[in-house]
């Protein structure tokens, strides 16, 4: 699937770099809070400034403060996703290292570019180890891709939070990306009326009373 990570990318993935970005976003929040506080104290000192110019000043200052204050809250929207991503990245790297080590016992390799066990140097599999390793690798690919996707969603949310629209107004960010737990078997998902009608075309919706 397009957008899937490769084993090489999982090897180069750096959980500390994810934490580093989060720390920058937190520090940036702090700078914006300080900036907003400064503007607030200046406005407070000039609270008796009225008249046409004073009103214009207070209106403009209020507008700026709204923009500045909104930027002091970016990190909280991505904190959970970042924490989960760090855990997932470390787990994926550890699992890939373990699979690589297990494969090396048979002189098999996990190439950087493809999710496969390369057994060209030793086609013999006396212990039946190949298939379990391939299964672990396939599961790892799914986990790594999912972790990457969740983190990307969180950063898209953060992106929406800092962007201004073409009129210079705050662009409404997408809802925060909560780490989506895998649906458990047996989860109930009610059908919509449209889906039900596709399954049983003879059904007609009841008129609303």
């Amino acid at each position: 699937m397009a957008g899937d990570l490769t084993p090489g990318q999982v090897r180069r993935w750096d959980a500390s770099a994810i934490q580093q970005v989060f720390q920058v976003v937190k520090n940036r929040d702090g700078t914006y809070k300080d900036f907003g506080d400064t503007l607030g104290s200046v406005q407070q000192q000039l609270s008796d400034w009225d008249g046409e110019a004073g009103d214009a000043f207070h209106q403009e200052m209020g507008h700026h403060r709204a923009h500045i204050d909104s930027q002091g809250r970016v990190s909280s929207g991505i904190a959970a996703a970042v924490e989960q991503a760090e855990t997932d990245v470390n787990a994926c790297k550890a699992e890939l290292a373990a699979i690589t080590e297990a494969a090396a016992k048979y002189r098999w390799e996990i190439p950087d570019g493809v999710w496969m066990v390369d057994y060209v140097h030793n086609p013999n599999d006396p212990d039946g180890a190949l298939h379990p390793l391939e299964q672990r690798l396939a599961a790892l690919k799914v986990k790594a891709t999912s972790a990457d996707h969740e983190l990307a969603q969180a950063m898209h949310y953060a992106c929406g939070h800092v962007q201004l629209d073409s009129h210079g107004h705050e662009a409404a960010p997408e809802p925060p990306a909560a780490p989506a737990p895998a649906p458990a078997a047996g989860d109930y998902h009610p059908l919509t009326a449209e889906q039900l009608q596709q399954i049983v075309p003879s059904l007609t919706p009841m008129p609303r009373s």
Binding site: G3, A53, D148, L151, A152
Partner: protein
């Protein structure tokens, strides 16, 4: 008719300088954050790396926009203070003295 003098022009001038100083401090911090984000990006992979690149672009644009807006506000405040002071000789002298003391 011009507004009556509703505020101390020195206070407005000082407020404008205070905002200008905060703008400069924030600009230094913003530049550092942008550099730190670019540095960290090398450890990111896949779709999230692409999303981070978009975030860095958005952050840089936002920093520039907020910097420009706050800088313009501080300039307007200082300009307003000067105009107020122009109607008040004593105020003008006080503003000039403050500005001189600040090396402006």
């Amino acid at each position: 008719m011009a507004d009556p003098l509703n505020v101390d022009p020195v206070a407005v001038h000082c407020g404008g300088n205070h905002v200008a100083s905060a703008v400069q401090d924030a600009a230094v911090a913003f530049a550092r954050y942008e550099a730190d984000l670019v540095e960290a990006a090398s450890g990111w992979m896949g779709q999230s790396a692409q999303a981070l690149a978009e975030f860095i672009t958005a952050v840089s644009e936002r920093h520039a926009a907020d910097h420009a807006a706050a800088a313009a506000l501080s300039e307007k405040m200082i300009e307003a203070a000067t105009q107020y002071a122009g109607t008040d000789a004593e105020g003008a002298q006080r503003v000039a003295a403050i500005a001189d003391a600040m090396g402006l």
